[in-house]
Symmetry: C2
């Protein structure tokens, strides 16, 4: 009879044990969880702190009792696995009261997850500096933020958890500061999109401090003082650390199970470790990256859940089902906006030296003649040689998840921009446009590939050489009156073909821009047909915010 031990009872571990029991009624299955709760809603913790989720009990998706009743599982909370003896096939368990015991296994599944990274900075262990991983952490933070005396809260780290925390702290009326050491928050997004997310945070009252590195914490009365590398300081009643996560794998260190240099568990495509009958999954493992190749650490709930099913299948059937690779598809709510991404961004493609071409579009969420349409900004990257889609980022009020999901599905098949141009998606006026945002992204990429749209990046519009270039604004008078780029001249697109092209110097290159890129494209086509050298500024003025132009 199988005796299966599973270490870690959140997303991956909980999925694994439920699936294992459905496959095998007879196996002995024991789930160890170091914390007091299993299968809790870890992605919901910030929203409980912020009050969107009002009942704490909703965070607890399963309990040891419910697991016992439905699946006859032996779930042991407050039980920390401290060591593994892979030769004897047993683990050492430490209970919260200090008692130790060992438990043998025929099969072992490691799903220990990741814990918040806590940098070795002076003062980091002050009691008002907390981090968020589990339900007890949540209770502690909630207790602090609910105090009358808590007014200023600083979140350190602008990743997903940091941004979600900042939003939720604003929701409950606190003065919220978000500190990020890098120039922009949210590494999965390139700076043009990250800037828009930052704008939404600022608009809702988050005090953003970008490019600020904390190097020390000290106490002053009932407050903590953050000391930045720049010499600046900031006082807070509470600090939430959200700098990142690291695998919680110290107990594996001397077991013979291979970890990488950062403590992450190495598995093959079947999620098996180097030790027979030992599997691993979730936030503690390395996986293959679908676009970049090589290994990646993607601590997300979706992959962990799917991995749980694969581990259970492979363990039970002894079959070799594969976890293919990850795209890193992710989304977050930022007040009234959603921002989502899949695949690689420009920065990560540059880092590995992979060729790419970006495009930008600003479609509407649905037909503009039907009420309620809202604008999206989309950046997509494709391979200029194979035309394969390499990644996409989107931000807007609506349809962001829909767009990125469809792109992720296309990328699952290593689809090209031609596939996006061809795909037949749902359309009715309340939901989309007859040419969907995916079609539009495909069309724009095809126009570039087929040489129909010579293009320029927005940066080029800010750095023209007036001796050789003309910056041409083809928008309408009212738009130009509101805001325009320096050194630009203005001829509305419809006026160009009524003789005004003659105002342009044919010996110079014309960089054309409009609001989103569509009229710029039409004007560019016209100018090219008349023998001008012209390029269209992709993305148009809607990208200007990312370059400090408001």
């Amino acid at each position: 009879m199988k005796k299966i031990l599973v270490v870690g009872g959140v997303a991956g571990g909980a999925t694994t044990v439920a699936r294992l029991r459905r496959l095998d009624e007879e196996a002995q299955i024991i789930l160890f969880e170091r914390d007091p709760y299993v299968s809790f809603a870890n992605c919901g913790l910030p929203y409980y702190i912020g009050g969107s989720i009002t009942e704490r009990s909703k965070l607890l998706l399963q309990t040891p009792e419910s697991f016992k009743a439905r699946f006859n599982l032996d779930v042991r909370v407050n039980s920390k696995v401290v060591a593994i003896d892979t030769k004897k096939q047993e683990v050492s368990v430490e209970e919260s009261d200090g008692k130790h015991y060992t438990e043998s296994y025929t099969h072992l599944v490691l799903s220990p997850g990741a814990k918040p990274f806590v940098p070795p900075i002076k003062g980091i262990d002050l009691p008002r500096i907390l981090s968020l991983r589990n339900v007890p952490d949540t209770d502690k933070i909630k207790e602090m933020v609910d105090l009358q005396s808590t007014k200023d809260v600083v979140v350190i780290g602008g990743g997903f958890i940091g941004v979600e925390m900042a939003e939720n702290l604003v929701e409950i009326g606190l003065n919220t500061h978000l500190v990020e050491a890098a120039p922009h928050i949210l590494a999965p997004f390139d700076s043009e999109i990250a800037t828009m997310i930052e704008g939404e945070l600022s608009k809702h009252g988050v005090n953003l401090m970008l490019g600020k590195k904390a190097i020390e914490f000290s106490e002053e009365g009932n407050q903590v003082v953050i000391h930045f590398e720049t010499g600046e300081t900031l006082k807070a009643d509470l600090i939430v650390l959200a700098i990142g996560v690291q695998p919680d794998t110290q107990f594996i260190a001397n077991s013979g199970i291979n970890l990488d240099e950062r403590g992450r568990i190495l598995v093959d495509e079947h999620l098996q470790t180097n030790v027979p009958n030992v599997y691993a999954l979730g936030d503690a493992i390395m996986v293959d990256h679908r676009v970049l190749g090589g290994k990646a650490h993607i601590p997300l709930a979706g992959p962990a859940n799917r991995q749980g099913r694969i581990v259970a299948n492979n363990l039970h059937f002894d079959k070799k089902e594969s976890f293919t690779s990850v795209l890193g598809t992710s989304i977050l709510k930022v007040f009234d906006l959603a921002a989502a991404a899949t695949g690689s961004n420009e920065r990560s493609l540059q880092a590995v030296g992979r060729a790419y071409q970006p495009i930008y579009i600003h479609p509407n969420s649905h037909a503009t003649y039907y009420p309620g349409a809202t604008a999206l900004t989309i950046k997509m990257l494709y391979d200029p040689n194979t035309y394969e889609v390499l990644g996409a980022q989107a931000i807007g009020q609506n349809s962001v998840d829909k767009f990125i999901d469809s792109v992720a599905m296309a990328m699952h098949f290593k689809g090209t921009v031609y596939d996006l141009a061809e795909v037949e998606l749902t359309y009715a006026p309340p939901y989309s446009s007859a040419k969907s945002p995916l079609n539009m992204a495909g069309f724009v990429a095809r126009n570039i590939i087929e040489g129909l749209m010579p293009h320029a990046r927005f940066e080029e519009a800010l750095n023209i050489d007036p001796s050789k270039q003309i910056l041409l604004d083809v928008r309408d008078d009212a738009e130009v009156a509101e805001r325009k780029l320096e050194q630009s001249i203005h001829i509305a697109v419809n006026e160009l073909r009524h003789g005004r092209e003659n105002e342009l110097d044919k010996s110079k290159e014309i960089l054309v821009y409009c609001a989103v890129g569509v009229r710029g494209y039409i004007a560019t086509r016209y100018l090219l047909s008349k023998g001008f050298k012209a390029r269209n500024i992709m993305g148009g003025m809607k990208l200007s915010g990312g370059y400090g132009i408001q």
Copy 2:
């Protein structure tokens, strides 16, 4: 120099001329439109009648003047092409004032669209019987419905336009009746899903008359009387005919351009007719069906728009770009719900004798612990031999478009249920679940394929043979008290494994059901492990409405 004539100026024709001009500044391009308006929002017409779209001007996306100003196009409205001479390469045009002239061409593009089908029934031409194709039709219907005296309106035909009209008539407070000759409305949906749409219509006050065929219309005072085949009658102040559409191609009949027996234009994959330099697109052509093979008539805006681009490219570059095939992806709003479909449904697969397996799931639009999650009902069909996804239908308040779009994208690549199980979509609590509805659909299909879930259709639960079968309800007491199936016995899933399995007769087959199918699956797995013969009723009690069980 090219001289390109385009017949028909709505979705397909308007896209074609705009693209053609962007490709070729020099060509002479003339667009003929029989009606007074081009490039109008045909999908928006019902919503203008219903008042969601308040400004009539919003329906007019382009005008002859705007096309002239931006694209230097010669747009001729009220100009009906009445004949084509493909030998002389010229068309005959009839203007609304009765004047005739001919216009020669080097290239001809046919985008005449489809017109409402008007059956040859006695009284069909009574003035209170209208149909909806264009802006003048819309003006006429709107004028009628705005009359104080208009109280009862009958829509005949439960297709997309008929259902959208019915919803919009209710929105403006009219007594609305929807008549459909078939047993259910909306042919793209199978009866389980169509029933849910019908439920939403009834709930909002639409008087649904299914399986009723009108055979005559007569006048009585200021009303029309509809006479049904059954002998019943119904009086109305206004009748809107929405029985279906037919290609508006009479003018092509003797031109040598091939039409099928129903007047639809035959084109090759490059959208070229049998006559050189003559292209066709939009609601008047036949296309290849991606799932069923063979030809299909799919009068939808999305394909027409994409075809316009292809026609322009092929015409201009003389290249052979293909319009691949259609899935028939569609969506409609029905009051608070959206209903969408892609690919083939069960009925159409049966009609061609193609093997298929359906699955049903009822996932939530996002994590249930985050506020605002709503339920979806999804039916998916796949090939039991190749596992290819053949079609999907979904209904719910939210995320219906997102789900169907991703399935359509998978079907574009001829993806299998394994692809759905593997794909990595966006997840955060406000947007989805860690196991997305697509993943869940893939998981359920895999459980069937891999023999883990012996399954039954809901119909089987209604027709058990008590001498050989037991119908087992594994829901909780409260659910059973509310509503249960006849002949069922009740043992909650969690009680099964605490000895109560012994109450079941092992010589009989157990058909297990719960609310949605999940607990039924768990109970089925348990019973199988204990040596019972058991099958899970797919879709559970949530499908019961489709079988008359409320």
